[in-house]
């Protein structure tokens, strides 16, 4: 304890080190603040849906209930769905930045509606958001390099090494205290702003503990790597350059190559194909006999087969049927897209086993329920809700039941599934494994 206090005082006396820790603290605080603001903005947008939805439905009801066809109600009524941010989303915005978290759907073809979002500049989204995950994964290692690259070599170059080691009882205890204090300084700079953010967001205690574990594991990896490089007894400059190269490789180059390989191996062209196929199937219905569309529809929905036959005149049930046929025509592609997103996520996780930066980022996204799996879960929730909408409207459409004002209130309401994040055990194990591997390589190398 005494040696830790002594080294803590010493660290604070080093202006550059104290400044580095303060700088990391500030960056983390800004990232946490930005995350809280973004989550508050998303929550405010979600909170506005309720009243707006009510007003919108009231306007449609006022118009559509005046002796109109139930198809008018089904066609013109939008139903809101939303994906509320988790209590940890402020720390890792993840896919919430690029995927819609509010979607208003109609009982029409779903596939064309699923990917509708507000127009944003994709290039602006490319670098990602400045959130806590960004600070931890990309910036914190630079501060580790700053504080650890000359830990040993700096003393040797200044000619103090022998005098220092001759002054201490245990050299292991001395260096251990120095490493622990510097590591603790960085941990505190990351953890305190995060804890404040977690208190503001009301984050569950287990998630707070999990994030602190992730911080600890990731810092430990970089510190061990720094110590292994320092064991090579090269100059501080050479150490700094080696570690900077490792940072480039582990946080930028390898993940980028990995993602290119994954994206090439699991192409998601289905997104584009899906939209085209669904639209083609839908639009084709205008050009073919209605019976062809209805026969296709009845094959999968025989429960409506014995309803009144269609005439040459326009009927909403035909319109909604060809939308559903369009969805079903694209069903296979939709499933492949769905599975492809999850498969890419699974391979990214495997990539994380050898790149601690990727593992750390994925671990935070999983805890915050802002990963692709959460995005898919929201889509699945929309699909299920859309099914309810169809089941609600179809009796009116196919049985020509009148749809009055009270029926609007009977329409199903979306219930968001609360994605709560999950413990990223395998990802954390990957970081710990890589740390042990790097440490073991360092020990082996120093014994040679």
């Amino acid at each position: 304890m005494t040696s830790l206090l002594r080294e803590a005082r010493f660290l604070l006396s080093l202006r550059s080190a104290a400044l580095a820790i303060a700088c990391l603290f500030l960056l983390t605080a800004v990232a946490i603040g930005a995350g809280l603001v973004e989550v508050a903005r998303q929550e405010a947008a979600i909170a506005r849906i309720g009243p707006q939805q009510k007003a919108d439905v009231a306007a449609v009801a006022a118009w559509a209930s005046k002796g109109r066809d139930p198809g008018d109600a089904a066609y013109y009524t939008f139903h809101a769905t939303w994906d509320p941010p988790s209590d940890l989303a402020f720390a890792a915005i993840g896919t919430r930045d690029v995927s819609p978290y509010v979607l208003r759907v109609r009982a029409l073809g779903l596939e064309a509606q699923l990917y509708e979002g507000e127009i944003g500049n994709p290039e602006a989204a490319l670098p990602g958001r400045f959130d806590f995950a960004f600070v931890l994964v990309y910036l914190a290692p630079l501060f580790v390099i700053l504080l650890f690259h000359d830990l040993h070599s700096g003393e040797r170059e200044a000619g103090r090494l022998r005098a220092l080691e001759a002054s201490v009882g245990s050299t292991f205890g001395f260096w251990g205290a120095r490493v622990a204090v510097r590591g603790a300084g960085l941990f505190i700079a990351l953890a305190i702003p995060f804890l404040v953010g977690a208190a503001v967001a009301g984050t569950a205690a287990w998630k707070v503990a999990a994030v602190l574990t992730v911080i600890l594991a990731y810092l430990a990896f970089w510190i061990v790597l720094g110590l292994v490089v320092a064991r090579a007894a090269r100059s501080s400059l050479a150490n700094a350059m080696t570690l900077a190269a490792a940072w480039m490789a582990l946080t930028l180059i390898l993940p980028a190559i990995g993602h290119v390989v994954i994206n090439s191996a699991i192409p998601l062209r289905q997104g584009m194909e899906l939209g085209v196929k669904q639209r083609t199937a839908v639009h084709r219905a205008w050009d073919v006999p209605k019976s062809e569309t209805m026969n296709a529809f009845f094959r999968t929905h025989p429960e409506w087969k014995d309803t009144a036959p269609l005439t040459e005149a326009f009927h909403w049930k035909w319109y909604f049927a060809f939308h559903q046929v369009g969805d079903e025509a694209a069903g296979d592609l939709a499933r492949r897209y769905h599975d492809g997103v999850l498969e890419r996520a699974a391979w990214s996780e495997r990539l994380g086993m050898v790149t601690p930066g990727v593992a750390t980022q994925l671990a935070l996204h999983r805890l915050a329920a802002t990963d692709p799996a959460a995005q898919i879960a929201y889509q699945d929730g929309i699909r299920a809700f859309h099914g309810q909408l169809r089941r609600f409207y179809y009796p009116y459409l196919f049985r020509d039941k009148p749809f009055d004002r009270a029926d609007f209130d009977r329409a199903p309401a979306f219930q968001p599934t609360s994605e709560d994040g999950s413990w990223p055990g395998a990802l954390l194990a990957g970081v710990v494994l890589m740390t042990c591997l790097v440490g073991a390589l360092g020990v082996l190398r120093s014994r040679r």
């Binding site: 005494t2 200044a158 000619g159 022998r162 005098a163 001759a166 002054s167 009882g169």
Partner: protein, 244 residues
């Protein structure tokens, strides 16, 4: 069994140190008693630094025996380093800290809690000007740095002092001050080993001088009479050892 040097603060017997195929120390034996200054004189590559590292426990003997206050530095480095104050050729302190803060830090490294009045008394003893005590040592001369290091040794109450080229680069006045300090520490019972290539410097202060060449003591001279050493004879014997 009692050996000849038993009871000496530093006792090296038949020490051999090899780095791979290269033998750096070749059956070296020497002893330094409490209250004695031993000058280990040698040129570059003679094995002076390796001898110091073996005493400090940074290098393990290939064979032979090293004891410091009766302890084996390889087996008990903590106890040995507690007894030793090591002052390198260029006393490297933390430039951003003052003399007072440096001494405080290094004493805490040795698990000692320095009292301010003790520290000031040590600074006075070594002759470090009061205005320098709280000044960052970045502006210190080599002599001032050495005084700071010796003040540290005093405060550590080290019974063994290892001085590596202590007077190189010091002006005559600073050398005289330094020698006076060493004499004082000797008088207080410290065993002092000075490792140097400066024959004249060590002759002023040492009680015995060993000539180290190719990792072994080639010859040894003991101070005698009021003039202590005959410089001419000292030089001749050193030259003979180096030529051998």
């Amino acid at each position: 069994m009692t050996t000849e040097g038993e009871g000496k603060a530093i006792q090296i017997e038949d020490l051999v140190v090899r780095y791979g195929d290269r033998q750096v120390i070749d059956h070296l034996s020497l002893g330094v008693a409490a209250g004695e200054v031993y000058g280990l004189l040698g040129g570059n590559g003679a094995g002076k630094s390796t001898t110091l590292q073996a005493i400090l426990g940074f290098v393990s003997p290939t064979s032979g025996r090293v004891r410091v206050v009766g302890l084996d530095p390889s087996a008990e480095p903590v106890g040995v380093r507690r007894a030793i104050a090591y002052i390198p050729e260029n006393v490297a302190l933390y430039d951003h800290l003052s003399a007072r803060e440096n001494v405080d830090y290094f004493l805490r490294l040795a698990r000692l809690r320095p009292e301010q009045d003790e520290m000031e008394a040590a600074f006075r003893t070594v002759g470090l000007a009061e205005e320098a005590w709280s000044r960052p040592v970045s502006g210190f001369s080599k002599g001032m740095r050495q005084k700071t290091a010796i003040a540290l040794a005093l405060l550590r109450r080290a019974s063994v002092l290892l001085l590596d080229e202590p007077t190189s680069g010091l002006d005559p006045g600073a050398t005289a001050d330094f020698n006076a300090l060493v004499s004082r520490l000797r008088g207080e019972g410290a065993a002092i080993l000075i490792v140097t290539h400066d024959l004249i410097g060590v002759a002023d202060i040492a009680d015995r001088i060993g000539f180290l060449e190719k990792g072994r003591i080639g010859d040894e001279m003991v101070a005698e009479g009021p003039d202590r050493f005959d410089l001419r004879a000292l030089h001749d014997r050193f030259a003979r050892v180096r030529a051998a």
